[in-house]
Amino acid sequence: MTPVLTCEDLTVTYPDGTTPVNNISFAVEPGTCFALVGGSGAGKTTIAKALMGLHGHGTRTSGKLFLGTKNMSDASAETWRSVRGRDLGFVAQSPWSACDPLRPVRDHVAEAWRCHGLTTSWQEIGTRLTNLGVTDATMRMVQHPHTWSGGMLQRAGIAAAGALTPPLIIADEPTSALDADRAQSVLDSLRALGCAILLISHDIGLVLKNTDKVGVLHRGRIVEQGPPGTLKSAAFHPESKRLLAALSPLPKRNNAERQTPLLRLENVSVHYDRGQVQALDNADLEIRSGEIVGVQGPSGCGKSTLLRIAMGIERPSGGTLWRSEELDRSGATMPIFQDPVASLVPHWPVWRSVAEPLSAPHRQRLKTADLKAKALSAMAMVGLRDVDPDARPSELSVGQCQRVSVARAAITRPPLIVADEPTSALDSPSTWMVSNLLQSAAEAGSAILIVSHDSTLLERLADRIVYMNAGRTLLRVP
């Protein structure tokens, strides 16, 4: 059978002469799922745009591109427009930004027909949404996108992508805005459409589980391609190995005694708005020194409230909270946040952010030169020896910023480090890197409380995982 997409020596050249995509060749067979996987900056989104003829003005493409038997290599803008939606579906990364916020969800789906001058009935749209697993579709679809949940709205996006039953759908990171368990069910809905899928993703775990063939993308080139099984067992290119390393288990920590309790919550509850909103409901949690405790649960389950209580910036409305004396000292708990760039002072050189905890008044006074020396060695510890210490956070990559944050959190060797979704803004190699660093911080004696929706990360990193739902904690020891 003819592949639904054939791409030979595809090269994309930007107006400034740089080539983010170089001589890429691959084919997608009908009904199969092909994945392009790579870290940030590998050229994934540029390829997706080029394959849809949506590379902007001034950007040139060369090489051969076939959609089925149609030669699209030198297609006119008008040909491209008639092909998009009919022969080529598209699912975007964030379901909310994919929808016009002023129009109800059903209009978003109907747009797939209307763009091509076709009509459809609301009933038809309702049926399609129901088939993809949207409950109460006919009632919900008159509501606006901001009232929908991410997983459901992404299903509406899939319904729109498959509206005119194109033989191929391009999905650019379709699940990265969703929780891990929802990501899988959304991917299942996508595959249920039955057409071929070109999945573009940074998440090698997700890709290996769900695709028939994988191409590893590195600096605009496909450095290796093959079935997931082969790639997993016999990857040869360093980039593939780097991506796969993110799946490998972390080195075991030596299990020293972790008996001294640091923090204990018993039957803690928190309400807001005079008891209207129950954020925590009889939650229990214990952290002992040197221990890594993971917290997982759906959004809105009270994870962040639990975290703020552990950080000491929020008080429980009921129950008992016990903190060890060690933890009550100033600077004893250090945080790591979700947004790496905003975690650093934007107008300071990064070394100053790293050194700041050492300059707190309760610590021994150090000269600026000594502070800088200590900051530099802390940055070297997190693998940032080659980064200019005088750079501003905006000059670093997101992954580097998060490593700077880890260096700052660990520089005083605090008894407790609290991490709130520390890897959700990072690609998988950076995620792996940061989890390594968190582990060495634990080796050095800090207890770590980490909240994340990434179950693979927690299972590899944490000594214990606490699952939360509706403000309650359900404990499980792995």
């Binding site: 849809m52 949506l54 003005h57 427009r81 008639s82 092909v83 998009r84 939606g85 009919r86 080529l88 598209f90 975007a92 990364q93 964030s94 930004s97 994919a98 929808c99 016009d100 916020p101 002023l102 747009e111 797939a112 763009c115 091509h116 697993g133 949207v134 409950t135 109460d136 919900r140 509501q143 606006h144 901001h146 009232t147 929908w148 949940s149 991410g150 997983g151 459901m152 996006g157 729109a160 391009i170 368990d181 929802r182 899988q184 069910s185 299942d188 909103v277």
Partner: protein, 331 residues
């Protein structure tokens, strides 16, 4: 893997099913509070004014050298010996009945004089507002549709120049060199619609420059948003994306900016009317300013504040009508 546990509706709707009426009511209450605060400031102008009010009133009545007894009795008559809050209540009662006091200079009721001049100002500013909205809408759509091509460049040049010329300078130059120079109209204007056309167009053309800039950049950022990309990937034409998606989304911030600009337009009225020798409220205020005619100044500020508040309220209501997301943020 099942997905039955995931809720379709993400939001806890705290407002219940109220939606638009509830949000609209809260905006109206806010506007009423603002309007009340404005009336307090307006009233406070009189007690704050330097000099004795009673003396000014007597002078205005033609008593050239009032005796202390006359001043004292006028104090009594005007209620100036009452506590401030009583004075305010008396004042606002009169204002609510449509009595804005007596002009110090002409001794006629201010309300009557205002009502003679208000239509001229409304005519000029209203027409200017319509012109500038139409022009900026047109220019911004053309510029966004032909991005980086010559129509866009030309419009950008116009917006740069327009934004760098204060309205009164542009009006002065246009009036002097174009209208008078080519004898296109009369310089001395009466308050008729035909006489208002040219001045309103000149004001509108200048105002439209900054509004075009605003709407153009709103349209362009909407054209590069996620939903525009998705619409493109579905096969939508650029024109469809511009008109169906970008325009409605960029229109709301544009409308808000216009609502705020109404304040600047009213505040600029004296200047504009001075240039076009337009017999409106602004010209009336200028006479009052040089004569320290406080009741007239008060009346002008009151009218300006009330029209500003109503314009802002109108824009707010349109915004929450068009954008359901705004119905949540009512506090």
């Amino acid at each position: 893997m099942g997905h039955g546990s995931e809720p379709v509706i993400r939001q806890v709707k705290r407002l219940g099913r109220g939606g638009f009426p509830v949000a609209a009511f809260s905006r109206i209450v806010q506007a009423a509070v603002t309007a009340f605060a404005a009336t307090v400031i307006v009233w406070a102008l009189l007690p704050l004014a330097p000099g004795d009010v009673a003396t000014r009133v007597l002078l205005a009545r033609g008593v050239d050298d009032p005796s202390p007894a006359e001043i004292a009795s006028t104090h009594e008559e005007l209620g100036l010996n009452n506590p401030l809050h009583i004075q305010f209540l008396d004042w606002i009662t009169l204002v609510l009945q449509g009595d804005l006091g007596q002009s110090f200079t002409s001794q006629l009721p201010v309300t009557k004089e205002i009502l003679e001049r208000l239509p001229a100002t409304i005519m000029l500013l209203g027409l200017a507002l319509v012109f500038s909205m139409v022009l900026s809408l047109l220019f911004a759509l053309i510029a966004a549709g032909y991005r980086d091509r010559w129509p866009d460049r030309l419009i950008r040049l116009y917006t740069q120049i327009g934004a760098a010329l204060p309205t009164f300078v542009f009006a002065l130059l246009a009036l002097s060199f174009v209208v008078v120079g080519f004898q296109m109209g009369r310089v001395l204007s009466d308050a008729t619609w035909t006489a208002a056309l040219i001045p309103a167009f000149i004001i509108g053309l200048d105002r439209a420059a900054s509004w075009t800039q605003l709407l153009r950049s709103g349209l362009l950022s909407a054209m590069s948003s996620g939903y525009a990309d998705v619409a493109r990937a579905r096969g939508a034409s650029e024109r469809r994306i511009l008109l169906r998606h970008a325009l409605p989304n960029a229109f709301l911030p544009f409308l808000t900016a216009i609502g705020i600009s109404v304040g600047a337009l009213i505040g600029g009225a004296p200047l504009i009317e001075a240039i076009f020798t337009w017999p409106g409220l602004g010209a009336y205020l200028l006479e009052a300013l040089s004569a320290r005619n406080y009741p007239v100044i008060q009346a002008y500020v009151l009218i300006a504040a009330l029209s500003y508040v109503s314009a802002a309220l109108l824009v707010d209501l349109i915004a929450i009508l068009l954008d359901p997301r705004l119905r949540r943020h009512t506090s």
